[in-house]
């Protein structure tokens, strides 16, 4: 047997044991320990994390919560490794998963403790609410029929809409499918401007502004990250942009949908129900954050739009 191998593996193994032992001794009593796993670093997901942490500290008391924050940075193996580390940590009382892949990785490993998720668009379709499921949370599914209706009322002359999204993101694909159905109902034409990564965003936007009168973006992490370039190209071409998230500082005409900070806060409230009131996750229906409609005053002016009476009570102009 090769001596080097034995020594090498033993050192690594002892290191692992050492770390685990040190962590074990750190456990504070009468504290809630929450394992937090985030799929990747995107602005919206960061909001969902910050909202959760702030709210859970408010709900349970800042000194009574300990949160172990992990981020898979887009890697599935990493997510899986974090999940099995969480599973091994007997101190953890409950889990918080941000975005689909994180929730899926936890789902496989953790079956005996509650999991609360946020930023998962289609929890039912992904088998997260099956019988005896230990999961609940807040979905980031936006109310698309309403969104399309508002667009129609605000911009009655738009004949063709460009859908700008990453074809690889499950949340976008789900929303775009429903957008297409609603647009067809309203007799508005559409074209797909699908991208595969952030580096395609500029080219897809350039294509969109030539072929359509409005750019519509679903809740898409890649486009969110590269949004400044979308806005820049659209501005030059004098084409309005509608996005399906809120909190965008780069001034699209309309921001519609889910406030991710709020979505994180809701998840924290559900978590409190589970931990304090001892409710089973399956008894708690998953929630949808309320959809906000924000219109940019400067954009309204640029496109010379007056808000119709029917929308005045619904929208917020900023």
């Amino acid at each position: 047997m090769n001596k080097k191998i034995v020594v090498f593996i033993s050192i690594l193994f002892l290191a692992l044991c050492g770390v685990l032992l040190v962590k074990k001794s750190q456990k504070g009593h009468d504290k809630y320990v929450i394992g937090l796993i985030q799929s990747a670093s995107f602005p919206n997901l960061d909001y969902a994390r910050e909202g959760f942490i702030a709210e859970i500290k408010k709900e349970l008391g800042a000194e009574k919560v300990e949160i172990i924050v992990q981020n898979a940075e887009g890697s599935l193996t990493q997510a899986q490794a974090i999940a099995s580390s969480f599973k091994a940590n007997k101190n953890i009382d409950a889990f918080y998963a941000i975005a689909t892949t994180a929730a899926q990785a936890l789902k496989r490993e953790i079956t005996d403790k509650p999991i609360v998720f946020a930023a998962v668009t289609d929890p039912v379709g992904l088998h997260m609410r099956d019988k005896n499921s230990n999961m609940t949370g807040s979905s980031d599914m936006a109310d698309i029929p309403k969104q399309i209706l508002y667009i129609k009322e605000l911009l009655p002359n738009v004949k063709k809409v460009a859908l700008l999204y990453n074809v690889g993101e499950p949340n976008s694909v789900t929303l775009v499918k429903s957008m297409k159905e609603e647009l067809t109902k309203q007799n508005i034409l559409f074209e797909d401007d699908g991208i595969n990564s952030e580096s395609d965003v500029a080219a897809a936007t350039a294509h969109a502004v030539v072929n359509a009168e409005l750019i519509l973006v679903p809740t898409d992490n890649s486009v969110t990250s590269a949004f400044p370039i979308v806005k820049q190209i659209a501005k030059k071409a004098h084409i309005p942009v509608v996005v399906t998230w809120t909190g965008e500082s780069k001034d699209p005409l309309m921001q519609f949908g889910v406030d991710y900070k709020q979505s994180g806060e809701q998840a924290a409230q559900l978590m409190a129900e589970i931990l304090v009131d001892k409710k089973a996750p399956i008894e708690i229906p998953f929630v949808f954050p309320t959809n906000k409609v924000l219109l940019s005053a400067s954009e309204l002016k640029i496109f010379n739009i007056t808000i119709p009476e029917s929308l005045k009570s619904i929208v917020t102009v900023y």
């Binding site: 080097k4 685990l20 074990k24 193996t77 490794a81 599973k87 899926q104 496989r108 490993e109």
Partner: protein, 286 residues
């Protein structure tokens, strides 16, 4: 109960699955000296094909076979791009991986959950270490197959192609054939790992293959530190890599630094090798 056991089980499980990709990298990069980027793409393709097949009611083992065939075909294309069209090795791999992304997403969808369909692990669920019971023999069997294969005539020529193409030509064998054969082997192994990973994790994600190649490369370099048969140490290397990742997770290293750590690990191994090489030289001269 000390919480080490589930962590170790997890490390071993992911290590065994990853070992197929490490073998793939070893076949392509080391034996054939062909740094094949398409290994990353076929991991995703294998997963997509398997996800699609099991959801549509295929037997999970048959699904895995389909995935492996799809992976092999992609390897064939990478090989043809290089040998027939003269495309640079690295570029052929990148081109194929790019194309495979579209294929995977159309076959598997951007994200799909397997739900409660039968997988290769279903039969082993009743045992407490069922996954390992399946994965460990599986990866050793595949390793042993390649150990055996490399000793056959065909395997001998394949190894020679990576070292000295003229020698192979002088034997009257076709160099392009052996390059392609090697890539077919490598990519079907990667697709196999992708297919197993989907059944293991219970879902397919179009971005699931990102980072596979670099992880396997790290595993391969760790494996090379040991002087055994590479196909056997590939398994060990993959497990040790997962062990290191588990340590960084337990240490709660700021996650955004984890990729840097993987890179530094590779650099560290290179340094160790360099020092060892220098030592040996000194010994020889003494």
């Amino acid at each position: 109960m000390f919480s080490l056991l589930p962590i170790v089980t997890g490390i071993l499980e992911r290590g065994f699955i990853g070992s197929f990709v490490v073998m793939a990298v070893y076949l392509a990069s080391r034996i054939m000296k062909f740094d094949d980027f398409s290994i990353e793409g076929t991991f995703g393709l294998g997963g997509a094909v398997v996800a699609y097949s099991v959801i549509h009611g295929q037997n999970p083992w048959f699904a895995l076979l389909l995935g492996v065939i799809a992976g092999g075909l992609s390897g064939l294309i990478t090989g043809l791009l290089h040998t027939k069209l003269g495309l640079n090795r690295l570029i052929s791999g990148i081109v194929v991986t790019t194309m495979l992304f579209s294929l995977s997403i159309n076959i598997g969808g951007s994200n799909v959950a397997l739900g409660s369909v039968e997988t290769i692990f279903s039969a082993f669920n009743s045992y407490s270490y069922g996954n390992l019971l399946l994965l460990a023999p599986f990866s050793f069997l595949v390793g042993i197959f390649y150990v055996w294969y490399m000793k056959t005539e065909s395997g001998f020529v394949l190894r020679s192609t990576g070292i000295n193409e003229q020698f192979v030509t002088s034997l009257g064998k076709s160099v392009p054939f052996y390059i392609i054969l090697c890539l077919v082997f490598a990519n079907s192994l990667s697709a196999l790992a992708g297919g197993i990973f989907v059944q293991y994790s219970g879902f397919f994600s179009a971005f699931g293959n990102v980072g596979t190649l670099i992880a396997a490369l790290a595993g391969c370099m760790i494996a090379e530190l040991f002087s055994w048969n590479m196909f056997m140490t590939a398994i060990l290397g993959s497990i040790i890599y997962q062990l290191i990742i588990a340590i960084t997770i337990e240490l709660q290293v700021e996650p955004s630094w984890q990729k840097l750590i993987t890179g530094l690990l590779i650099v560290a191994i290179l340094v160790v090798k360099k020092i060892e090489g220098a030592k040996k030289k000194v010994l020889k001269h003494a």
